[in-house]
């Protein structure tokens, strides 16, 4: 199957293209040098062409998401569209059904999305949902930060067994990377408590979040995993938490990367860049966080941008979610996973006139505007915590247009003038920088830059064409056009198949599920398994034989191999 995209204004920062008219040749799902005359031709008509969008952090599948759906029929009924000849019915806004999840990402020109967190014990559920999300390539990050085996091996300072556990855990969950949420806090929440800083000792396990984070980073690099440790810092959502965030990011200096990428990715920094001491003197410390990133090359982050309106908070940060529910007097779901982690789901409505919300909204944008290198600050909304992913175009427009930002600032609570730097920031990102924050940078952070996030030969043929001509539009002034173009792709091509045309789904091929198969020396695996067997004998409520995700749950696997490598440790 051959395809030729002619006349596109290609923005491909990885390959140095900033909008030159370049033809793209596609054969058998890959970008190639050239194709025969039999190729189907798409004339991009001078319009913007980018690699398909790549999202490193979104809650799209699994137990939390489904609890969100069950709790919120009022959300499900708000985004309903009936079935068509090629699409199943769609429902929901903050918690879409699986079909809407795939179609809507594709309609925005996104082709690869990673589920932000799955507990090993519930990974089968995550994969059942991922299997049913059409079109996009996907994967899931596996939680390790509060698992009993993790904490035991960290306490014993046994990195070999910890590496073996992580390798085995990724296999058991068919996971793509190491996720660490409020490390240590998941265990504390088992008795309704939490950690308050990275040096708190988790009782019964005698480890600190600091030790957990550093150890996981070490084994992540020992295993040479494609992605780095993906960290949701302790103290999320508490005024003053920026200090914990900076302390956590400092830890990255203790480990050297095994690949050309960061050793720590800190997620949804909007919620972790807070100054002040309470809701009264709450203020932005995005500048401090951005400043850290500007001065370090071993840490990356993503925004977690907030969108006004309805959202559903859902994270593995169980204690934070309970606190949220209490504060908001909202309905609350909680889902502890034995020996592993926690989770909580709470609906929220972000309001422009609430000072705290306005300050938060500005923090997200500041993070992007103050971090000089767009490779270090990816565009996310921590869907659906900050807001649903269908609003990415709003974020793009805000980043590209100071005019739009100033208009928005006029309509939100005036606290942003005192508590944020945003009103004074006039930086406007260009198409290349946006392409980095939504494609190239994400692919690099995830360790998938060989096949994703760019349009060079060898890349997967995942391409989006948007209805704007980069050389004829002034994004600063015509931000409404930018927003509408990025909301609804003129073309989305996935693996060489046209799946979206003029914002409509034209085909629904299944995507692939990325997961990492890491090898460790057999003796360490065997030693580690002795401990695991004991855990199942005594503490888990299911049998070890029924624990691991079976092949039938991942029907289109894309396996990335990894394994133990000696690594320099500072």
């Amino acid at each position: 199957m051959e395809l030729l995209i002619k006349n596109g204004a290609v923005v491909d920062p990885v390959n140095g293209n900033k909008g030159d008219k370049t033809d793209i040749s596609i054969k058998d799902g890959k970008i190639v040098n050239k194709v025969s005359t039999k190729a189907t031709v798409i004339d991009a008509g001078g319009r913007l062409v980018m690699a398909g969008g790549v999202d490193a952090h979104s809650h799209i599948a699994g137990a939390k998401v489904n609890v969100g759906r069950m709790m919120r029929p009022e959300d499900s009924r708000s985004g309903i569209s009936p079935r068509t000849k090629i699409t199943r019915p769609c429902t929901g806004y903050t918690v879409p059904n699986v079909y809407a999840m795939g179609y809507r990402y594709a309609q925005m020109g996104y082709t690869t999305v990673f589920e932000a967190a799955q507990a090993i014990m519930k990974a089968r559920h995550t994969h059942e949902e991922l299997e049913e999300i059409p079109i996009i390539d996907k994967g899931a990050l596996t939680l390790f930060g509060s698992n009993w085996p993790t904490m035991d091996f960290v306490r014993e300072k046994d990195m070999d067994k910890l590496a073996a556990y992580v390798a085995w855990g990724l296999l058991a969950s068919r996971g793509f990377g190491v996720k660490c949420v409020n490390p240590g806090g998941g265990e504390m929440w088992g008795f309704g408590k939490n950690v308050t800083g990275i040096d708190d000792i988790v009782p019964s396990f005698d480890v600190t979040p600091r030790e957990i984070i550093v150890s996981l980073m070490k084994v992540n690099e020992m295993l040479g995993l494609p992605h780095s440790v993906h960290l949701h810092c302790n103290n999320l959502g508490n005024p003053g938490n920026y200090k914990t965030t900076l302390e956590s990011m400092e830890l990255a200096n203790q480990v050297k990367a095994s690949k050309d990428r960061q050793v720590m990715h800190v997620t949804h920094l909007l919620f972790n860049s807070w100054g002040g001491t309470n809701w009264g003197d709450f203020e932005s410390k995005a500048d401090e966080v951005a400043n850290f990133l500007n001065n370090h090359d071993n840490v990356t982050g993503d925004m977690g941008q907030m969108i006004f309106g309805s959202a559903t908070t859902m994270t593995a940060d169980g204690p934070k979610q309970y606190a949220n529910a209490k504060l908001l007097h909202a309905k609350w779901s909680n889902g502890d996973v034995e020996l592993e982690d926690a989770s909580g789901v709470v609906p929220i409505y972000y309001v422009k006139q609430i000072s705290v919300h306005a300050i938060m909204w500005a923090i997200g944008l500041e993070l992007a505007l103050l971090t000089k290198d767009p490779y270090k600050m990816l565009l996310t909304t921590d869907h659906p915590n900050g807001g649903p992913f269908v609003n990415y175009s709003e974020v793009i427009a805000l980043l590209m247009s100071n005019k739009k930002r100033q208009e928005e600032i006029k309509s939100v609570h005036e606290a942003v003038h005192a508590k944020n730097k945003l009103p004074g920031l006039d930086r406007e990102l260009d198409f290349s920088e946006i392409a980095i924050m939504t494609r190239a940078g994400t692919a690099k952070v995830l360790g998938l830059l060989d096949t994703k996030g760019h349009l060079g030969v060898g890349a997967d043929a995942d391409i989006s064409i948007y209805d704007i001509k980069p050389d004829q539009i002034d994004p600063s002034v015509e931000h409404a056009k930018i927003k509408s173009a990025f909301s609804s792709a003129a073309y989305t091509i996935k693996g060489g198949n046209v799946v979206v045309k003029d914002g409509q789904i034209t085909a629904t091929p299944p995507g692939r599920t990325y997961w990492v198969d890491a090898k460790v020396p057999q003796q360490y695996h065997d030693e580690m398994m002795k401990d695991i067997v004991k855990k199942f004998k005594n503490y888990y409520s299911i049998q070890l034989a029924n624990y691991m995700v079976q092949d039938e749950y991942v029907t289109h696997p894309q396996v990335v191999k990894a394994g133990s490598v000696p690594v320099e440790v500072n």
Binding site: S76, R77, E128, E129, G190, S333, V337, Y539
Partner: protein, 432 residues
């Protein structure tokens, strides 16, 4: 002879996964670790051996081929203006997915057995959420366990041994001795007999009792009358103290709460009690689901349609409103003009008026066994037994999904095959 270890039991929401099954010549000859209920299900009993049909329900069934039965089923559904696809709870998730697709294709209402069981819990979750945990959390941590309107000794025999009362855990090394067990029920059940404390409430007054507990907990004991639902105020105050004293409290609830007056509001209220207890100490609540995969239907339906059950596809998009779109809602109004009942026994569990209406309309039954639903059916299609002859996915009462093994080879087609063929035939009839 084959020995299958770590097999899963296809009976109740405990979804025990430590069974050992001995198979000889494609027959199950021994089962270890299962309770009586599970063993009976796995051993099975006399099955329907071939598809059968009858034009009118008063006549005898005539044996037919699968082809004929499937064709007739497709015809019935294709012609129907308000079809109902009901049951599902004794089938695997793979079957549920086919059912939802068929409901979409035929513009039907799809509902599951929770409608006579725990559907009220789902309604409560819409209001209050669900603060819960996997069963291992309770095993490892819970020192106060309450069974409210639930009698596990009778209905979930291995629950207390595996998860909640007798089990030993990391923080509960003493097992039973380290736990306080409280039963709240309208009569002294077998479970109440072995509990540390039994609180008897008057029939239908659970809602009032829970509200009273919440009032006491929130510091407003002064407005609570001297007796609520037959329980003296003193006892309620003492109960609140006991609940607060837990390091990790757990409440399990059953039909006693979901099916008595105020129904879903009972659960809703209980969930609020749990949420409010969390201000003092850790608490979780879990529904004691009946069928081994009723939870699975709720999960699959939620991720595919946005709604957990009782979904009406008549206009091509999912519409959800229990009280309007649940099986008994449409049956009692005599709106349903055709029904397919699969892996669920409407004939046995539905109100008399619903069953009377089923007797008037064309009914397709897909089930391995003869049961009261067979009596009101026109087309009966026997299938392989999920979880015994067919492998697939099921969800335990706490939402943990597990893969059920095949124990013996099926001799009949599976639910999935039958539904696939019916759906294909419906599409042919529609001219696709």
């Amino acid at each position: 002879m084959t020995v299958i270890t770590d097999a899963l039991c296809p009976f109740c929401g405990c979804l025990c996964d430590d069974l050992t099954i001995v198979v000889d010549n494609n027959k199950i000859t021994d089962i270890k670790n299962a309770c009586k209920l599970g063993s009976a299900k796995i051993m099975g009993h006399h099955r329907i051996e071939a598809p059968m049909m009858r034009a009118d329900k008063k006549s005898e069934f005539k044996e037919v081929s699968y082809e004929e039965a499937i064709n007739e089923a497709a015809q019935i559904l294709f012609k129907s203006k308000r079809p109902l696809l009901y049951g599902w709870a004794s089938a695997l998730c793979e079957v549920h997915k086919k059912g939802i697709l068929l409901a979409e294709e035929t513009g039907a209402i799809i509902d599951n057995t929770a409608t006579v069981c725990h559907a009220p819990s789902t309604l409560a979750v819409h209001e209050k959420g669900l603060p819960s945990a996997t069963l291992g959390q309770i095993k490892n941590r819970s020192d106060v366990t309450v069974f409210w309107g639930s009698n596990p000794v009778h209905a979930h025999p291995r629950h207390m041994g595996r998860y909640s009362v007798f089990a030993k855990g990391f923080f509960q090394e003493k097992g039973r001795k380290g736990r306080k067990v409280i039963v709240v029920d309208v009569r002294k059940t077998e479970t109440a007999a072995m509990a540390d404390e039994f609180i008897q409430v008057q029939q239908g007054s659970d809602y009032l009792v829970i509200s009273a507990l919440r009032a006491i907990l929130s510091g407003h004991a002064d407005v609570v009358p001297e007796s609520v639902g037959g329980v003296p105020k003193e006892q309620l105050v003492k109960l609140v103290d006991t609940l607060k004293s837990a390091k990790f409290g757990s409440i399990f609830f059953g039909m006693g709460l979901t099916q008595s007056i105020s129904r879903y509001k009972n659960i809703d209220n209980a969930i609020s009690l749990i949420t409010e207890l969390n201000a003092f100490t850790k608490y979780v609540i879990t529904p004691m689901r009946g069928h081994y995969n009723v939870t699975g239907f709720g999960q699959v339906c939620s991720w595919e349609t946005g709604f957990a059950t009782a979904v009406d596809f008549s206009r091509g998009a999912p519409y959800y409103n229990p009280g309007e779109t649940a099986a008994n809602d449409v049956l009692m109004r005599k709106e349903t003009d055709a029904a397919m009942i699969i892996a669920g026994d409407a004939g046995a569990h539905f109100p008399a008026d619903s069953v009377r209406h089923l007797a008037r309309i064309p009914v397709i039954q897909i089930d391995p066994y003869w049961n009261p639903t067979t009596e009101v059916s026109n087309v009966v299609i026997p299938v392989a037994i999920c979880g015994v002859e067919v492998a697939g996915t099921a969800y335990r009462m706490d939402g943990v999904s597990l893969h059920m093994r095949k124990m013996i080879e099926p001799t009949l087609p599976t639910d999935v095959e039958v539904l696939d063929r019916i759906t294909e035939r419906v599409r042919e009839l529609r001219g696709e």
